[in-house]
């Protein structure tokens, strides 16, 4: 307020008009932003639920994967399968691609998992001597877990982006609601007040002028009356006047 208090605009009808327009714009923007925020918030709440579900699923999937891995270890007759698998890993058969998704004007990245089975050929002969099928089963279990993780990743990213966006929008909404609009209103109030004041001043001034005029008028009148009175005193005595000429018919 202090800032606005420092440099008040000239209080006249034109500035009032411009401020009125600004207020209109601000309220419109405020309403729109509020709608956007609400939409984002609704989406956010839905996301939260999804994230919790997916997180549980990921936990479950990884647990199953670990169990399957233990089985694979058991089945592969004590060889160190982990290292030989890692040594064989060359090109990834799983890749993720990013697609944009739009929520209330905010673009949110969505990850999709792509599987290229041709890269898995190297793993096909894994454990032919013992445990090969168990290994493949383990891979399938982990594949499911990875799918969940990718899903979770896109949800989390969406969550993060939405969170930022909601924060920003909220800030804007609040700024509009609690700072900008009140300030404009205050200025408008000030202008109208000032203009009222001016009007009252003008009215008072006019009244004063009229009063002064009236007094002056009254004075003039009085003076005239006085003059009249003196004139009456100076009137010629009828007794002293000469005889009128005779009337000749």
């Amino acid at each position: 307020m202090s800032q606005a208090g420092g440099q008040r605009p000239p209080a006249n009808r034109m500035t009032l008009q411009t401020f009125k327009a600004r207020l209109g714009g601000a309220t419109k923007g405020f309403k729109l932003l509020k709608k956007k925020r609400d939409a984002l918030k609704a989406r956010f709440q839905a996301l939260l639920k999804d994230i919790v579900d997916t997180k549980l699923k990921v936990g479950e999937g990884l647990k199953e994967g670990a169990f399957a891995l233990a089985k694979a270890h058991y089945a592969s007759s004590g060889d160190d399968i982990a290292s030989s698998i890692i040594e064989r890993a060359k090109k990834p058969s799983l890749t993720t691609k990013m697609y944009p998704d739009n929520v209330a004007g905010v673009s949110i990245p969505v990850f999709k998992m792509l599987r290229d089975s041709s890269q898995e050929a190297v793993a096909q002969t894994m454990g032919v001597g013992s445990g090969g099928a168990v290994l493949s089963a383990t891979r399938d279990t982990y594949l499911k877990a990875v799918e969940c993780i990718v899903q979770l990743a896109s949800l989390q990213t969406a969550f993060h982006t939405l969170d930022e966006e909601i924060k920003m929008t909220s800030r804007r909404v609040n700024a509009l609601e609690y700072v900008l609009i009140p300030r404009i209103e205050e200025i408008m109030h000030y202008i109208t007040q000032e203009m009222d004041e001016e009007a009252r001043e003008e009215f008072f001034r006019v009244k004063k002028v009229v009063e002064k005029k009236k007094i002056k008028l009254a004075k003039e009148k009085e003076a005239m009356m006085l003059a009249d009175a003196t004139a009456a005193i100076d009137a010629p005595s009828m007794l002293q006047s000469k005889k009128d000429a005779d009337l000749v018919f």
Binding site: A70, Y74, S76, S83, G127, S130, A137
Partner: protein, 390 residues
């Protein structure tokens, strides 16, 4: 002759192994291990068994891999101790046992060399049972890939007992590349062969060669050894055929073009050989496997128990809980236990090592289940050794 002379040379070692037999975990130990809540609990539970304080110096937090590694090291220690007591031909026999693990190690080193792994890293993954002298040399020297293969190859060929298997394998692999291999193997080609071949297949065929060689050696011993070990190895050969067949199902190895590769992995002896193997050479899906196993009621029964797991139609793998490995482990344990029932033969040593391996697998499985908090699965998977019979 055997009855009279066996104990002169091998009596002591045999008695040591029979003594070690009582070191296997009993039902009480398994129960105690199963009721552990953390790996720390397992450490103290294992301290009361024959494993003793083998985990004492390991820093917390304990890892499952550390436990199994230490178990293997303990087994290797005992194995080396036993081997030091042996005289020929038992020493050679013990060598044969260790060779299986040597093959694992060598394959691991080759794989590591292909990926330019530091020798230090490789050293940590070495199976303690399969350590041999030449290995230290290749591990300690950091060889570059180009010149390195020649080194690797020469060391394998000359210095190690598994050299002949490599030679055989490489010659065979080279023969596939027809005209190049007219004059045997030239060292310069070895690098090329090693990089091109699928290491997993190479490992399996090396093991096949090992199994065949072992069988030949055992037969040459004659007597009870040939009888007991012959049976054990024949069963193992059959199981190997089964395993390879089952594990190749639903993979690229079951396609028309690579049946050749798969069939090369079948050993040339065993109860299934030659008729059963001949049938199995043609199979490509679970129905044909079943048909091929039809005359062998025992294997058919095994297959029927696990065929859900390998059924390609019921929504992929993993439909059934047990895999063929689980059943074969149980069969093997029974078979190895039986080897203890006879005296004056070498099968005992082999059986002992294999049973210990199974026990380590059991411990590892229990440790995994303790970590994952899925203890209901402990009892349905592990195969206790020398269970009291009702």
């Amino acid at each position: 002759m055997e009855l009279a002379m066996f104990n002169v040379s091998h009596g002591f070692t045999e008695s040591v192994v029979r003594g070690l037999r009582s070191g296997f975990l009993g039902p009480e130990d398994y129960r105690r291990l199963g009721s552990c809540d953390t790996l720390e609990d397992m450490r103290s539970a294992l301290e009361e068994t024959d494993y003793g304080t083998f985990l004492q110096d390991e820093p917390s937090p304990l890892l499952v891999s550390t436990i199994s590694k230490k178990c293997y090291e303990k087994l290797a220690d005992e194995f080396r101790y036993l081997k030091a007591q042996t005289v020929e031909p038992l020493s050679t026999f013990m060598d044969f046992i260790a060779r299986e693990k040597m093959i694992d190690n060598v394959c691991m080193i080759i794989q590591g060399a292909l990926n330019n792994k530091a020798p230090k890293e490789l050293e940590e993954k070495v199976h303690p049972l399969g350590v041999f002298e030449g290995m230290k040399v290749i591990m300690s020297e950091s060889f570059d890939v180009q010149g390195g293969f020649d080194d690797v190859y020469r060391i394998f060929l000359v210095d190690t007992p598994i050299g002949p298997y490599f030679e055989e394998y490489l010659r065979e692999a080279d023969r596939d590349k027809d005209d190049m291999a007219r004059s045997g193997i030239e060292t310069s080609q070895v690098g090329g062969i090693l990089t091109k071949q699928d290491l997993e297949i190479m490992k399996t065929s090396l093991k096949k060669a090992w199994l065949e060689d072992f069988y030949g050696f055992v037969q040459s011993q004659g007597g009870t050894t040939a009888e007991v070990m012959g049976h054990v190895l024949k069963m193992e050969a059959d199981f190997r055929v089964l395993l390879v067949t089952m594990n190749a199902l639903n993979t690229s190895l079951s396609t028309e073009s690579s049946l050749q590769d798969r069939n090369a992995l079948y050993p040339n002896f065993g109860y299934l050989y030659p008729e059963g193997t001949k049938e199995l050479r043609k199979v490509f899906n679970d129905t044909t496997v079943r048909a091929a196993l039809e005359p062998y009621s025992k294997y058919l029964q095994l297959f029927d128990q696990v065929k859900d797991f390998y059924d390609s139609e019921s929504g992929g793998r993993g439909a059934g809980f047990q895999s063929i490995e689980d059943l074969i482990y149980a069969e093997n344990v029974h078979m190895y236990e039986m080897a203890f029932e006879q005296q004056y033969h070498f099968g005992l040593f082999y059986a002992w090592v294999k049973l210990r391996e199974q026990e380590i697998r059991n411990i590892r499985w229990i440790a995994n289940m303790v970590v994952l908090d899925k203890k209901d699965h402990i009892d349905d998977t592990i195969v206790p050794i020398f269970q009291p019979r009702m």
